[in-house]
C-alpha cells in the first residue's frame, strides 16, 4: 500500500506577542499538529492583530505545545486565570479578545476540568506551557538544570543510580527496566557507545512521542545528554518517522539552539563531557520500532531484525554498545535526575513506577493526550478523564498496545493500569495508544484490521510472520465475509500459536495478540459470524442484508 504523509508545515514563523510592560494575561495558543490542522496558526496571527487593533498592551500571545484536549481544538489557555478556550475559530476572535481584556489574575482560578484534574504531569509538565521553538523558554521553566547539576555535582554512576532507583521501565512498550539497560551499556567495554532515541512511533492510534517532540523537544535532548553521561556515550541520534514533519522541524531547531547555547557539543556546562545529537529520518516501516531493525535502518539498510542476543546494549550501531530508549522514557529522565529517583518511585504501583502518557482516542468524548499515574483504573481514564462514550453508547472495549496488544472488555474497567495487570488480561501496556470502542465496533473486524496491518508491515525475513500473518488475515477475512467454518477458527488458533512461538522478532511474536484477546472475551462474536452468518455489531458489510 502506498503511503504518504502530509507535506512539511509552513516555514513561516509565527511571532509571539510580548508586551514591553507588565503582562496581565497570556494567551497560550496550542500549536501542536492537531490544533494546527484546526488552523490554530491563524488564531495566533489573528489574535496578535486583534489585540493590537483593540489597543490592548498588557496581554501576551505565545505559541505553546500540546494542551492535551485535542477533541476541542483549536485551544487557547490563559495560565493566569486557569481558563481554557475551546474550539476557537480564527474567523471570530471577538469573544476571546473580550475575555482577555477582562482577564483578572487576582480572581479565583477557574476549577480545572476533570480532564485535567485527574492527571499527573511529569513527562508532559511543559506541554502547553513552554514555547517549543524557544530554548530560553525551556530554560526559564527549569530546563537543562538537571543536566548542569548532573555534570557539575554528580558522577555518571550517581546519575545511573537515580534512574535505577526511580524504577522507570521502557515506555516504548516492552517495559524493560531502564536502569538495567543503562547499566549493561555502561559496563560494556568499548571505546565508543551510542544513545539512540526511538521516535519511530508506528502504532496506529498513538501520538504520545509526536506530541512530546512537537511540544517540548529540548526535554528529549536533555534526557539523551543525561543518558550519554551516565553510560559513557558522546554521540546520540534520534530516529524519527518522516510522517511527523512538525516534530522533525522543531527537533532540528532545538538541536541548533542547544548547540549554540552550549547544552550540546563539546565541554557541556564547562565540564569534561561532550555530546552531539543527529537526526535520522525513518521512511515508514513499523518493524523499525524493533531495536535491531532500527539499527539496520540507521546503517542505511532495509529494516530487518536479527536474532537477539547479542542485544544492542552490548553490540548495536556499528557493533558498538548502543542504548536505545523511546522518546517518553528519555523525556522522564530530566525530572528523575532533577528531583531524585525516590521521588519518581513514589508515584505509581509497586512494580510499575511513575506516570504513563496515553493517547486517548476512538469513541470517547475527550480525545487527546493524557498523563496519569500508573495504577489508575481504566474506568477513571475512560469515564472521568475521557468523559465517557460518544452519544452515550455502551462501552465495549479498550484497545491498548496497538497491533501487539489486545482488547480489554468492560469486566476489567476497574483494573489498575500497570504492566502486570495489562499482561494478565491478555493485552500489553504498549507505547500508550488507547482506543476506546463502543457497540458499533466488531471485534472480529478489529482483529482483522490489526492482522492486515501486521501482514502489510511484516518485513518478510522469517516465514512464520510473513506467511502466518497473511494466512491469518485471510482466515479472518473469511469469518467477517461469512464464508468460514468452525474448522477455520481452529486453524486460526493453531496458526496464531505457531506465529507467537516461532517468529523472529516482536512484530510476528505479538501479531496474534489481537486475535487471542478477542477470542478470549468475544468468542461468541466469532461464532455469530461463522454459525449464524451475522455481525452483532453491524459492522461487517458482507453480513448485512
Amino acid at each position: 500500500m502506498t503511503e504518504q504523509a502530509p507535506p512539511r508545515p509552513s516555514r513561516r514563523r509565527l511571532a509571539n506577542l510580548a508586551p514591553a510592560g507588565p503582562v496581565r494575561a497570556t494567551a497560550a495558543v496550542c500549536e501542536a499538529a492537531s490544533c494546527l490542522s484546526g488552523r490554530s496558526g491563524e488564531v495566533h496571527t489573528g489574535l496578535v492583530d486583534a489585540l493590537e487593533t483593540a489597543g490592548v498592551t498588557d496581554v501576551a500571545v505565545k505559541r505553546v505545545g500540546c494542551l492535551g484536549l485535542c477533541a476541542a481544538g483549536p485551544l487557547v489557555s490563559v495560565p493566569e486565570t486557569g481558563q481554557l478556550h475551546r474550539n476557537v475559530s480564527p474567523e471570530d476572535l471577538s469573544g476571546l479578545v473580550e475575555s482577555l481584556k477582562a482577564a483578572d489574575p487576582a480572581a479565583p482560578a477557574v476549577a480545572p476540568d476533570p480532564f485535567f484534574a485527574r492527571q499527573v504531569r511529569v513527562v508532559t509538565e511543559n506541554l502547553g506551557r513552554v514555547d517549543p521553538e524557544s530554548i530560553d523558554d525551556y530554560v526559564a521553566a527549569g530546563g537543562y538544570r538537571a543536566l548542569a547539576t548532573a555534570l557539575q555535582e554528580m558522577s555518571s554512576a550517581e546519575v545511573l543510580a537515580e534512574v535505577t532507583a526511580s524504577g522507570l521501565r521502557g515506555r516504548g512498550g516492552a517495559g524493560y527496566p531502564t536502569g538495567l539497560k543503562w547499566q549493561t551499556v555502561a559496563k560494556a567495554g568499548a571505546p565508543e557507545r551510542y544513545v539512540v532515541c526511538n521516535a519511530d512511533e508506528g502504532d496506529p492510534g498513538a501520538f504520545m512521542d509526536r506530541s512530546v517532540l512537537e511540544s517540548d523537544p529540548h526535554r528529549v535532548l536533555e534526557g539523551m545528554a543525561l543518558a550519554g553521561y551516565a553510560v559513557g556515550a558522546s554521540h546520540g541520534v534520534v530516529y524519527c518517522r518522516a510522517e511527523y514533519p512538525l516534530a522533525l522541524s522543531r527537533l532540528k531547531t532545538a538541536i541548533r539552539q542547544a548547540e549554540r547555547a552550549g547544552w550540546l557539543g563539546g565541554s557541556i556546562a564547562e565540564e569534561d563531557f561532550s555530546f552531539t545529537v543527529d537526526v535520522r529520518v525513518g521512511a515508514g516501516a513499523f518493524v523499525c520500532g524493533e531495536e535491531t531493525a532500527l539499527i539496520s535502518s540507521l546503517e542505511g539498510g532495509r529494516g530487518t531484525p536479527v536474532p537477539r542476543p547479542p542485544y544492542p546494549a552490548t553490540s548495536g550501531l556499528w557493533g558498538a554498545p548502543t542504548l536505545i530508549n523511546n522518546v517518553e522514557t528519555l523525556a522522564a529522565v530530566p525530572a528523575i535526575v532533577g528531583r531524585g529517583g525516590a521521588w519518581y518511585a513514589g508515584i505509581g504501583t509497586a512494580t510499575s513506577k511513575g506516570t504513563k502518557v496515553f493517547a486517548l482516542a476512538g469513541r470517547v468524548r475527550n480525545t487527546g493526550l493524557i498523563e496519569v499515574p500508573m495504577g489508575i483504573t481504566l474506568r477513571e481514564v475512560v469515564f472521568d478523564i475521557g468523559g465517557g462514550i460518544v452519544d452515550d453508547r455502551p462501552f465495549k472495549a479498550v484497545q491498548t498496545g496497538g497491533p501487539s496488544g489486545g482488547c480489554i472488555p468492560s469486566d476489567y474497567l476497574d483494573m489498575p493500569l500497570d504492566y502486570e495487570s495489562l499482561a494478565g488480561v491478555g493485552s500489553i501496556m504498549g507505547s500508550g495508544g488507547m482506543i476506546v470502542m463502543d457497540d458499533t465496533s466488531c471485534m472480529v473486524d478489529v482483529a482483522r484490521y490489526f492482522m492486515d496491518f501486521c501482514r502489510d508491515e511484516s518485513c518478510g525475513k522469517c516465514i512464520p510472520c510473513r506467511v502466518g500473518t497473511t494466512q491469518a488475515w485471510m482466515l479472518l477475512g473469511a469469518i467477517t465475509g461469512g464464508t468460514a467454518t468452525m474448522a477455520d477458527l481452529d486453524q486460526l488458533e493453531r496458526l496464531s500459536s505457531m506465529m507467537a512461538a516461532t517468529s523472529l522478532c516482536g512484530l510476528g511474536q505479538t501479531a496474534p495478540n489481537p486475535v487471542f484477546s478477542t477470542l478470549r472475551y468475544f468468542r461468541d462474536e466469532y461464532a455469530a459470524h461463522i454459525v449464524d452468518r451475522t455481525c452483532p455489531a453491524g459492522a461487517c458489510q458482507e453480513l448485512i442484508s
Binding site: 502506498t2 504518504q4 485535542c70 501520538f207 535502518s297 556499528w318
Partner: protein
Amino acid sequence: MQVAFEAPAGRDVRRSSGRPAHPSPPSDDRRWRAVDSRIRRLGGKPDGLIEVLHAVQEAFGYIDVDALAYVGQSLRVPPSKVYGVATFYSYFTLKPAGEHTCVVCTGTACYINGAAGILAAIDAALGVKPGETTGDGRMSVLTARCVGACSLAPVVVVDGEASGRVTPAGAVARLGDLPATEASAP
C-alpha cells in the same frame, strides 16, 4: 555538519582503494544540487542511503529508476540494495503523484470511526483505490497508517491540509471543489 555516528574507519574496505570520480547527475535539472549537497554532507558513504533517497523525494516528489542508479553510484551501493531499500520503506514512492493528493488516514481511531466508508465513497465517485491516480492524472488517493491526529478521526489530508471528522460525502465534495491547477513548474 558532523556525521556523529559514522562507520568507524576501516569497516568499508572499498574506501581504502581510492574513490572514483563522482558520477554526474542524470540531468542538468537544478534540483539535483540539493541531492548532491546532501550526499556531500553525509560524506558520500553507503550508510547515507536512506537520507539521500529522502533528499531525492523531497526534490522531485518521487524516485525514478535513473535517480536510483545515480544514488547507488554516488554512494557506491549496488543496485540490488538501492532498489531493495527504496521498496522496503512505504514512504518512498517510485512513481509520480497526480496534481492533487488525497491521503485517507487508516489509523485505528480513523478506522473505527469510518475510514473504510470514506475510501469506498471516493472509489465510487472517482474510480480510484488507494495507491492509484485518476486516468487524467488529476487525483492520487493514498492511505496513511496514522497521521497522528487521532482526536479528529476520521482524518483526510488533501494537498497537505488535514480535515477532521470527515464524512464520506464530505470527503467526495471536498475533492470535487478542488481547483483545476496547472502542473507545477519544473
